[in-house]
């Protein structure tokens, strides 16, 4: 009973401290509202307003028809350029795609030869390049067919009907908002707990805690609980008010289950915060460590690029990161409406990671706490 009471009092203390830091509160509010909205509301689809140029050496009805078929929002209105401009303009990175339509295209086509159109793709723009090249090929073929057959419906013998589940229009903002929310949860929980510990150390208050009848585990649990609950509250409010309310993202699954997963995730990240604060000797060192940890957590957990695309050894390493599991769970719960019966295995995994992180941090915290006074 006594340890629980201690943790409770220490937690209240953490909240009171945080409540005094107005700038920090303002930053938290900003991170969970405006920031989420800005960074995801207008994230376009992968192929959106791609810059394209056309060298039209044919100037036939067919080539004009082709030019007219490349239009927004997938492509910017095509720029008309000369052949000699292709290299310098592509070198400067002005265009991702340049179509070179040869003279006599229409004539060759109608005389039964298979004329060739050259499509130059800037392959350093990976995301646009591949998908865009596919789109352009499909569009050109369709326009050629329509030109030859006179705009009749396709008579392809086997149709492929693709339906996107869970997000029929493939709206990037839905996914983006949830990922941004998760990134904020991770970032804030690590910074808050880590800085709270370094702060106690820099201000000498840790000494007071150490001469009181408190165990290290109580001090650490109080920080984990206090900061975890703050972030949990802010993120739940953000999910309901900003993501569902303001941005109108249709969330199919259970908000409650998501909050439960977020709580488990926070258990792991707040423990990480404590761990980093025991490694760092000062605030500047903590800042460096946090950046070095946050970058891979944000970019390699499946939020920025698909997790499946990564090489196996990176996937293996990132399986140890709580964010990886959190992101896949969030997708399953919020978009696919998966229930506890379906998601319990990764949930259990997240729990184990949290437990291990907590145990490791506690061990380090116990060892280093004497040196902090």
């Amino acid at each position: 009973m006594q340890p629980l009471a201690n943790i409770f009092h220490l937690t209240i203390k953490e909240w009171r401290s945080l409540g005094r830091d107005r700038i920090m509160l303002a930053l938290i509010l900003f991170a969970f509202s405006v920031n989420i909205y800005i960074s995801s509301a207008s994230i376009p689809e992968t192929l959106h307003m791609a810059p394209i140029a056309i060298v039209d050496e044919d100037r036939s009805p067919l080539s004009i028809r082709m030019t007219g078929a490349l239009y927004p929002p997938w492509f910017l209105p095509p720029a008309s350029i000369e052949q000699r401009q292709i290299d310098p303009l592509m070198d400067a990175g002005d265009f991702t795609f340049v179509l070179d339509i040869p003279p006599g295209l229409q004539r060759e086509l109608l005389s039964g030869n298979q004329p060739t159109i050259q499509l130059n793709v800037d392959a350093t723009k990976l995301t646009q390049a591949f998908l865009g090249a596919g789109y352009i090929q499909a569009i050109l073929s369709e326009e050629t067919r329509a030109f030859v057959q006179g705009d009749r419906r396709s008579t392809s013998p086997v149709a492929l009907e693709i339906r996107n589940r869970f997000n029929p229009a493939l709206n990037q903002g839905w996914f983006g908002a949830v990922i941004e929310l998760i990134d904020n949860i991770t970032m804030l929980s690590i910074i808050l707990t880590g800085a709270a510990l370094i702060r106690e150390r820099e201000h000498g208050t840790i000494e007071h805690l150490l001469v009181m009848p408190l165990r290290p585990v109580e001090i650490m649990v109080a920080k984990v609980v206090a900061m975890g609950l703050v972030v949990l509250l802010a993120s739940s409010a953000s999910l309901v008010l900003v993501v569902k309310g303001w941005m109108q993202v249709p969330v199919e699954g259970s908000t409650l289950l998501f909050v439960l997963v977020a709580a488990l995730h926070l258990f792991a990240t707040t423990s990480m915060g404590i761990f980093l604060a025991t490694v760092a000797r000062s605030m500047p060192q903590l800042g460096m460590l946090i950046i070095l940890v946050l970058i891979p957590l944000q970019l390699l957990s499946g939020g920025a690029t698909p997790f499946e695309n990564m090489p196996a050894f990176i996937q293996g390493i990132m399986q140890l990161a709580p964010t990886t599991h959190f992101i896949s769970l969030a997708q399953a719960i919020l978009f696919r409406g998966a229930g506890l019966a379906i998601v319990w295995p990764p949930l259990l995994g997240l729990m184990v990671i949290g437990g291990v992180f907590f145990a490791l941090s506690l061990r380090r915290f116990r060892r280093s706490i004497a040196g902090m006074a």
């Binding site: 830091d21 991702t96 159109i117 990976l126 996107n164 997000n167 460096m288 891979p296 696919r336």
Partner: protein, 915 residues
């Protein structure tokens, strides 16, 4: 005003109607004062009466709110006068070594200040040597300032202040917290300097009345007002008091004076007869930090109810000993017992019997007085229903009524100390361990504090173990120990100690022991040579020397904390490797399963077309819609195909058939890719079918699109990703390195050097930025070399263009860190702020995943102006293409422009004076 007759005619400082507020709290009220020049002027009064505020206004460190401050014949509100007189004023702020840089050596600290004041190499060397010789610091010239004792720190601080031959020396409580020997050496040094520079005026704030006796002219202050001015003699005569301390108390308003009672110490009644009851027992207590012995073989026995004093200078091992007794530090050797139990850090029961008050005020400044008391009462497990009564009792007994809902930071030091004591005794401990509890507290508050201690000892039989450097406090202890350099020199009653040395006062006795221990340190060293006043020089608006001074200092600090630079270099290399391989657009292993309602060779052939490709990975077939739904929801399948019944038959008869495909749209970009690949394979299969069935004659008319993937023919992710990861890392890491550089000086206090020296904002910011630019460029070269040689990413463009762009870029990145740092007040907020303004724009809005041209709204605007987008274009351009400067000018200009813009914003955020 009194005492004017003693003062030389021309005033060096003239104050008129000066008023200062901190938020709502008034610090100075309507002060009008003329301070005579060429003499030692003392500012006396309790803490929190505005002495420090007044001195910081005089030194130009704080901006004036109301009234006029004239110093050395000009108005301090005028920036150009401040720039001209800055070099003639030297200011040493309150706090041990507050203006020093802890990781820099003695010599480096002095060099830094000498450069700030524009001394050339030869002159600098000469001055530094003279000052070091004069202060006896010569043999410690390579020791880091943080490792000096309190007395040595203050001497070094004085040297730093004197390096430029000031006409006005402003010292704010220079000897508080310094042992008596160092204190007398300090004053001797000031005297010698004055004898060589007779024109110099010195203004000193002090809490020691004995010191103030020696000053030429005094200003007594209380509650932001001047009570009286004049010589010590005049003040004593006016009040009819014997000592200055008594005179000061009589100058106070009636109601305050009533609070003061002389301290009386009733004799101890217990422990005198029969068996003494031992509270603390230590045998051979030793503490080593590495090869440094902080405490050596300390033996102690303290009886219950005794007040045991621990005397010694800062850094002599008092605090370490106390920490060992409380169990905060495990002893290297020896053992300590409290109430007969060995000290054990894990023994929670002993902790309930001990109260501890640490040296610096370290209660929670974010909690109110009452909240602090309640928190400690609860954590010490007082019965909940007894807590309100106990808190009320403490508020009453320690005179905290009326301020219970205030934050500690709003209270004067004396009140805060009482609060600390109240917190330390709230759980009725049997033993109190107090580490310099009265440091920097004014005489009245000190006496009140001691009365409380004596009551605790005599009435409640609380054992008190207290460390102090005030001799009159030591006199009040039952027994004292003198500690020096980790060893106890002597231990007895104050009277016995005096008699042993045959000294008149405890102070003299103590000094005698210290001198013996220090082996008669030679104090007859030559005073600094007087030199012609070179203050005719007016500091220019921009000085490369001052800028370099900050650059040198910042790089030294960076060198002394190699962990940060190592983290930056090593961390960025590891991240480049992980992310170069990790962020990949190569698609493989799309997990799919099929609901095949046809089960013919044709349908199986269609599926073979998919499962045979590298991109798709087939899972066990689906049997019904329920299963399809469940497996897609769990995320096991990204793609589900349904082949309708009669697929093969319909196909053969040329009837239209449709294959259904469900794609998991939870991650849209992945869904697009899946759909794209599926369509491509489907199209390929169709062509096969057509070719198989049709004759060349019926071959439909078609075109051929030849796709050329330029710059990266294999469409290898690594080649495309590495040049985009480098800009990301070079934004975040340098920004975080600089993000704490200014705000940390604000938190730790050394920002004061920026306020009071002639260094300008531009010199300060650029000077600090340069070392980080150098580090970031080294980081850049390391990452580029890694990309080219280890990853084999071909570099086709102009190295010159790339390096130039990188230089501009890291200037912008470090500048952003400095901007956050100039703006924020706490380090936590600076870390969070830097993460927000670098991570999100650099990852999301700068074209790493989505090209800037595809963005809309606010993200588009951010993407267009953010430096990362432009450097990313240049980086991926020069790596994979071969453009020159001209082709990249569209990216170079915004990048080049961002550097002065960011610097300009930082200049606006950074104030040359404290507000």
């Amino acid at each position: 005003m009194n005492g004017r007759k003693d003062a030389p005619p021309a005033p060096v400082i003239r104050l008129d109607g000066v008023t200062l507020h901190y938020r709502k709290h008034p610090a100075l009220r309507e002060i009008s004062l003329e301070v005579p020049s060429g003499c030692m002027v003392g500012l006396i009064g309790p803490d929190g009466v505005g002495k420090s505020s007044l001195l910081s206004l005089i030194a130009g460190a704080r901006s004036i709110q109301q009234g006029t401050v004239q110093v050395l014949g000009g108005d301090m509100a005028d920036a150009s006068h401040r720039r001209h007189t800055g070099p003639r004023i030297a200011y040493m702020p309150q706090g041990l070594g507050k203006n020093l840089y802890a990781t820099l050596s003695v010599q480096e600290n002095l060099d830094f200040f000498a450069r700030l004041f524009g001394h050339g190499r030869q002159e600098r060397g000469q001055r530094v040597n003279e000052l070091l010789a004069a202060t006896g610091l010569l043999e410690f010239r390579d020791r880091p300032a943080g490792k000096l004792s309190g007395g040595m720190k203050q001497k070094l601080g004085l040297c730093c202040a004197l390096i430029h031959d000031p006409d006005l020396l402003v010292l704010d409580e220079p000897t508080t917290g310094v042992d008596p020997l160092s204190r007398s050496q300090f004053w001797a040094l000031v005297e010698r300097v004055r004898s060589r520079r007779p024109g110099m005026s010195v203004v000193i704030a002090t809490a020691y009345m004995e010191e103030a006796e020696r000053f030429d002219w005094l200003v007594a202050m209380d509650e932001g007002r001047v009570l009286a001015t004049g010589t010590a003699e005049a003040l004593r005569q006016r009040t009819g008091a014997d000592t200055l301390e008594a005179a000061f108390i009589r100058l106070l308003p009636e109601e305050k004076r009533r609070k003061h009672h002389p301290v009386t110490i009733p004799p101890r009644t217990d422990g005198q007869d029969g068996q003494p009851d031992i509270a603390i027992e230590a045998e051979g207590l030793t503490m080593r930090f590495g090869d440094f012995v902080a405490v050596q073989d300390v033996n102690l026995r303290v009886e219950r109810g005794e007040i045991f004093g621990f005397l010694g200078s800062n850094g002599c091992g008092k605090t370490t000993t106390m920490k060992m007794l409380t169990g905060l530090l495990p002893a290297s050797e020896g053992n300590a017992r409290l109430f007969g139990h060995p000290v054990d850090a894990t023994d929670l029961d002993t902790r309930r019997r001990v109260g501890y008050m640490s040296q610096s005020f370290s209660l929670y400044s974010e909690l109110t007085v009452r909240q602090n008391l309640e928190l400690h009462a609860r954590l010490f497990h007082l019965p909940p229903d007894s807590i309100p009564a106990r808190v009320a009792e403490m508020l009453e007994r320690f005179g905290l009524g009326g301020v219970e809902d205030e934050l500690p930071s709003a209270l004067p030091l004396g009140v805060r100390q009482r609060l600390s004591l109240a917190v330390a005794v709230i759980h009725r401990p049997e033993l109190l361990i107090l580490d310099e509890p009265t440091s920097g507290v004014d005489p009245i508050a000190r006496d009140q504090f001691w009365q409380l201690l004596i009551d605790l000892s005599r009435e409640d039989r609380v054992t008190i173990f207290i460390s102090t450097h005030f001799m009159n406090e030591a006199e009040r202890c039952d027994r004292v120990s003198l500690m020096h350099a980790g060893q106890v020199l002597a231990s007895d009653t104050p009277t016995a100690l005096r008699e042993t040395r045959g000294a008149e006062t405890l102070n003299d006795a103590f000094v005698a022991w210290l001198e013996e221990a220090a082996g008669k340190a030679d104090e007859s060293v030559a005073p600094p040579v007087a030199r012609g006043n070179e203050n005719g020089r007016t500091p220019g608006r921009f000085s490369l020397l001052r800028l370099c001074s900050y650059t040198r200092r910042e790089s030294l600090e960076l060198q002394r904390d190699p962990i940060r630079a190592t983290l930056a270099l090593l961390g960025s290399v590891i991240l480049l490797v992980i992310m170069g391989y990790g962020i990949s657009m190569d698609v493989e292993d799309i997990r799919f399963a099929v609901l095949d309602r046809d089960q013919t060779s044709t349908s199986r052939q269609y599926l073979l077309n998919l499962s045979g490709s590298n991109y798709f990975l087939e899972r066990t077939p689906i049997t019904d819609y329920g299963e399809l739904d469940r497996r897609m929801r769990s995320g096991e399948l990204e793609l589900a195909l349904e082949i309708p019944p009669g697929f093969a038959r319909d196909l053969q008869h040329g009837r239209p058939v449709a294959i259904g495909a469900w794609v998991d749209g939870a991650m849209p970009s992945r869904a697009e890719t899946v759909a794209g690949y599926l369509q491509a394979l489907h199209g390929g299969w169709l062509q096969e079918q057509l070719r198989f069935q049709s004759t060349p004659v019926t071959q439909p008319l078609s075109i051929n699109v030849e796709t050329r993937y330029r710059y990266n023919p294999e469409v290898a992710s690594l080649v495309a990703i590495v040049p985009t990861v480098i800009p990301l890392l070079l934004m975040m890491i340098p920004a975080m390195l600089t993000a704490l550089s200014v705000v940390r000086e604000k938190e730790l206090g050394s920002i004061i050097n920026f306020y009071v020296t002639p260094v300008t904002q531009l010199e300060f910011l650029l000077g600090k930025q340069i070392p980080y630019i150098v580090l970031a460029m080294a980081n850049f070269l390391l990452l580029t070399a890694l990309a080219v040689f280890a990853f084999g990413v071909p570099f086709k463009g102009s190295y010159l263009a790339y390096v130039t762009a990188a230089l501009l870029y890291v200037m912008a990145a470090t500048g952003l860190g400095l901007l956050v740092s100039s703006f924020m007040r706490s380090q936590t907020a600076a870390i969070f702020g830097t993460t927000i303004i670098t991570l999100i724009p650099a990852v999301t809005f700068s074209g790493m995943t989505t090209p800037v041209s595809a963005l809309e709204g606010i993200p588009r605007i951010i993407g267009e102006i953010y430096p990362t987008s432009h450097f990313l274009t240049i980086s991926s351009g020069t790596f994979s293409k071969a453009p020159g400067f001209a082709d990249l000018s569209g990216s170079f200009w915004p990048l080049a422009l961002s550097v002065p813009v960011i610097l300009g914003l930082s200049l606006m955020a950074l104030k040359k004076q404290e507000r």
